[in-house]
């Protein structure tokens, strides 16, 4: 635990990429495989199944410190992180643990799940007594499952690759999919010979596109690019190998059981690996259902006949990564596409389809076609260089997403709550409202319609934070209501009627586009205007 705590602090104490890689590399060079496996597990964002609630952790820390419940809550809101708040509330430490990380995890953390609440409390309090301040914080992070230290998968991959003297892409592939953090796994991960990636169900790392911010003409000749609709579903990888079928989501979650219709269709495929999009499909209109429909299938394992009939899910395939056991990722897109069409010819049907290529002679033609995105239920275009290989992770240059502009409305800030992480203690989480009637209507009111957290600069956040503190009209717990005065432009991707929301609508991915200091609240938009955007 000491070595891992030192690593954590080294990572937390620098913003420099090279220093982060060097710190991880030094750790992997030095740590026994049993510990290193767990370090990879945590640093790659994996977490044990939920062990106990963050609230309980804070409560126990406060009880140990003799601090009343309400004060614990106040403290938590100033810190914005339960694990950290608990560590800060505890009385000063007078011990430090030399016990290795894997022992802490397997003997001190994982068994917590088997205990009742009193047993958990006793075990956690006992552990705190053996740990120093920094270790307590880390222990708390590990048991509440919120471990983050500004290390991306890419940095971790590079550090492991350097330590093992292997290519980044090989490590990235070996890190994909499901694995247990055992010493054997770590040996396999860093083994010089290619073997580990040959596990039947192991997915390839996804290739991700960058948003296109410049004009599409800057990409040169349109003929060099393959253009597809950008689907608003779940990115997925379908693996058909040796009679087995695996379906992975982009979050590296195995979702095979959740989409039986897709898996059934895939049985007709020859051995191959496909990249595509899972979508809830409207067969009558032959277009995707809104993302909200697909959400009813995400996370649901027990599927009723009704669900399957009402929200059928299909896979629209757009790339082929492996064919007959051979890795095709280095081949150009045109070749992969041709092979994809061949592969699907055998299995194509209702549930497994080819994502069509959009043909257009000029960028201008594409631009006007893009205007039809909303009525087609898509988010714009994907633009892929015909000669491009299938790369690992987010890389600039070959794949672009050319999304349609979001919807936006001018709304009034009415509630604010403190943020977490680097926004700890600052009022950064806002609720926005729209008017129930037109200007001049004496009975009109502001009705909340969306919460938004992101989009302001640090300086703007400070300005709004000051505003909230000095214009509070009421406090309910951590939430403050403020004098309606600030107008902001709120963007969102989609909008749907909803009877769960007071406003009668639900918007998707709301965020702040800009502060509208030039607008008075009288000029903010109305709910009717918002509803007129529903298609």
């Amino acid at each position: 635990m000491k070595r891992f705590t030192d690593l954590y602090q080294a990572l937390d104490n620098t913003n420099r990429t090279n220093e982060k890689i060097a710190a991880m590399r030094a750790y992997f060079d030095d740590a026994p495989p049993a510990d290193a496996a767990w370090a990879v597990y945590f640093l790659s964002g994996r977490r044990p199944k939920r062990l106990l609630s963050a609230l309980l952790l804070r409560r126990w820390a406060a009880e140990v410190a003799g601090i009343p419940e309400w004060l614990q809550e106040e403290s938590y809101h100033a810190v914005g992180d339960s694990a950290e708040a608990a560590a800060l509330l505890l009385p000063p430490a007078n011990a430090a643990s030399e016990r290795p990380l894997h022992e802490w995890v397997t003997e001190g953390i994982v068994p917590l799940r088997e205990l009742d609440e009193a047993g958990q409390r006793a075990a956690v309090v006992e552990a705190w007594g053996r740990l120093d301040d920094a270790q307590r914080y880390l222990f708390n992070k590990l048991i509440t499952g919120g471990f983050r230290v500004g290390v991306s998968q890419r940095l971790l991959t590079r550090a492991l690759a350097e330590s093992a003297a292997l290519p980044d892409t090989l490590i990235a592939h070996r890190l994909m999919g499901a694995w247990e953090p055992t010493p054997e796994f770590y040996e396999m991960l860093t083994h010089p010979e290619r073997q580990a990636e040959e596990v039947a169900g192991r997915p390839y790392p996804f290739f991700l596109a960058y948003p296109l911010e410049a004009a599409p003409e800057t990409l040169g000749d349109v003929a060099e690019w393959q253009v597809e609709w950008k689907w608003d579903g779940i990115r997925a990888q379908l693996i058909r190998r040796d009679g087995e079928i695996f379906l992975w989501s982009r979050g590296e979650e195995l979702v095979t059981e959740r989409y039986p219709e897709v898996v059934e269709a895939a049985a007709a495929l020859p051995d191959c690996v496909l990249d595509g999009e899972l979508l809830a499909w409207d067969f009558d209109a032959d277009r995707p259902q809104p993302f909200a429909a697909l959400q009813q299938r995400i996370g649901r394992k027990n599927l009723t006949r009704k669900t399957l009939a009402g929200t059928p899910v299909i896979l629209l395939a757009y790339d082929l990564l492996e064919w007959a056991g051979e890795d095709w990722r280095a081949r150009p897109l045109v070749e992969r596409r041709a092979q994809l069409e061949t592969a699907l010819a055998a299995a194509a049907g209702s549930w497994l389809r080819l994502s069509a290529v959009v043909e257009a002679a000029t960028w201008a033609d594409l631009a006007s076609l893009r205007e039809t995105s909303r009525e087609r239920g898509v988010e714009g275009f994907m633009i892929k260089r015909r000669t491009s290989p299938y790369r690992v992770g987010r890389k600039r240059g070959d794949w672009w997403k050319w999304k349609i502009d979001p919807f936006s409305v001018d709304a009034v800030l009415i509630y604010a709550q403190r943020g977490s992480g680097r926004r700890a203690g600052l009022y950064t989480d806002y609720t926005f409202a729209l008017w129930t009637g037109e200007p001049g209507d004496p009975a009109r009111e502001l009705v909340p319609f969306a919460k938004a957290y992101s989009g302001l600069t640090d300086a703007e956040i400070r300005e709004v934070d000051r505003f909230v503190r000095t214009h509070t009209t009421e406090r309910f717990g951590p939430v403050r209501s403020v004098t309606p005065q600030l107008v902001m432009e709120i963007a969102f991707e989609a909008i749907q009627a909803s009877n769960r929301h007071k406003s009668g609508v639900a918007v998707r991915f709301p965020r702040i586009l800009r502060l509208r200091d030039d607008k008075s609240i009288e000029e903010a938009d109305t709910l009717d205007h918002l509803k007129s955007l529903i298609d």
Partner: protein, 335 residues
């Protein structure tokens, strides 16, 4: 009420004077020279003797400043006034006001930890104690100073090895001098920003011992910044002034650095937990040591501290000020 709040600040009607007024008044009794306590334009100032130099820098050359040694009493219109060390910065004082059998102590800002650059906090018994609450939450408990200074020294040495200048942001009045007095000056050359430099002069003039340091503007052309520690006010962060130091690591010394999110928001490589304000345990012990029956809480987590004290059976109230009722981002620099 011996002291009441007016739109100019805390007022003693019997003595016809203000304590730390936020607008110009006839007579201002000053707890310490930080900008939010000592404002320009009053007709007469009274402060503790060691604080005269730094108050002069704040109030201007022409400001009429009278001083009084710690512990000695004077009478203003029949009201007895004395200054007692607050341990916050050089010359910082708790102001004791006694009249008609009633004793009030206005603590100003204070800390109970020792500090080689100023006189240590001394508890003063009173009936009514006015305390600050900048860090009035139990998460704020200061680590031992020796550990913090060792961490700063280690960071400086590591930067030297990496060939990187060490830039430490610390509030120019008080924190900067405390840092300079606390670090191991034998590690390498010390440089300071102009704002720190002129306050260092005032500290030295008051007899405070500080290590030798050079004003950045006076540095020789060929100086090797990678070995140096440069102490600058937080306002210098993100300015072109820093470019001259080349490759550098930035750190911030403040009580707010106790919280990771605050540290990350500062966008510095390191945050050192070093505050000139009282922490939670210090706050509770200072209140207990005052023996006060009534506690007025101002600046910071006032509502929280008041509620806690009331639950402990004390007669506690928030003292409203133009400041927000819990600390915002603007308070970072002076904590």
């Amino acid at each position: 009420m011996l002291l009441t709040l007016t739109d100019h600040g805390l007022f003693c009607a019997a003595g016809d004077f203000f304590i730390d007024p936020w607008r110009p008044v006839g007579r201002a009794v000053i707890t310490h020279a930080h900008a939010d306590h000592a404002r320009v334009g009053s007709s007469a100032y009274l402060c503790a003797a060691p604080g005269a130099g730094v108050l002069r820098l704040r109030a201007g050359a022409a400001a009429p400043i009278e001083t009084q040694p710690y512990g000695s009493r004077t009478t203003i219109n029949g009201v007895t006034v004395s200054f007692h060390p607050a341990g916050h910065i050089l010359g910082s004082a708790q102001v004791r006001v006694a009249h008609g059998g009633e004793v009030w102590v206005v603590s100003g800002d204070y800390k109970t930890d020792p500090d080689p650059t100023c006189a240590s906090f001394e508890p003063v018994t009173c009936d009514t104690f006015i305390t600050e609450a900048t860090f009035g939450l139990p998460i704020y408990r200061w680590p031992p100073q020796a550990e913090v200074f060792k961490t700063i020294d280690d960071w400086w040495r590591a930067n030297q090895r990496a060939g990187r200048a060490s830039v430490l942001f610390a509030y120019a009045l008080g924190k900067a001098q405390r840092v300079l007095a606390g670090i191991d000056a034998s590690i390498g050359p010390l440089f300071v920003h102009g704002a720190v430099d002129r306050l260092n002069d005032a500290y030295r003039a008051a007899g405070v011992s500080l290590p030798d340091c050079v004003y950045v503007g006076d540095a020789p052309e060929d100086v090797d910044w990678s070995q140096a520690l440069i102490v600058a006010p937080p306002s210098a962060q993100g300015t072109p002034w820093l470019r001259r130091f080349g490759d550098q690591s930035a750190a911030f010394a403040s009580g707010w650095m106790r919280v990771r999110g605050r540290r990350r928001r500062r966008a510095v490589d390191r945050g050192f937990v070093l505050s000139d304000h009282v922490d939670w345990p210090g706050l509770l012990s200072a209140i207990a040591a005052s023996g006060a029956q009534r506690v007025l809480v101002t600046h910071g987590y006032t509502a929280t501290v008041v509620r806690y004290l009331r639950e402990k059976g004390l007669d506690a109230y928030e003292l409203a000020t133009p400041y927000a009722d819990e600390p915002g981002e603007e308070d970072d620099t002076i904590a």
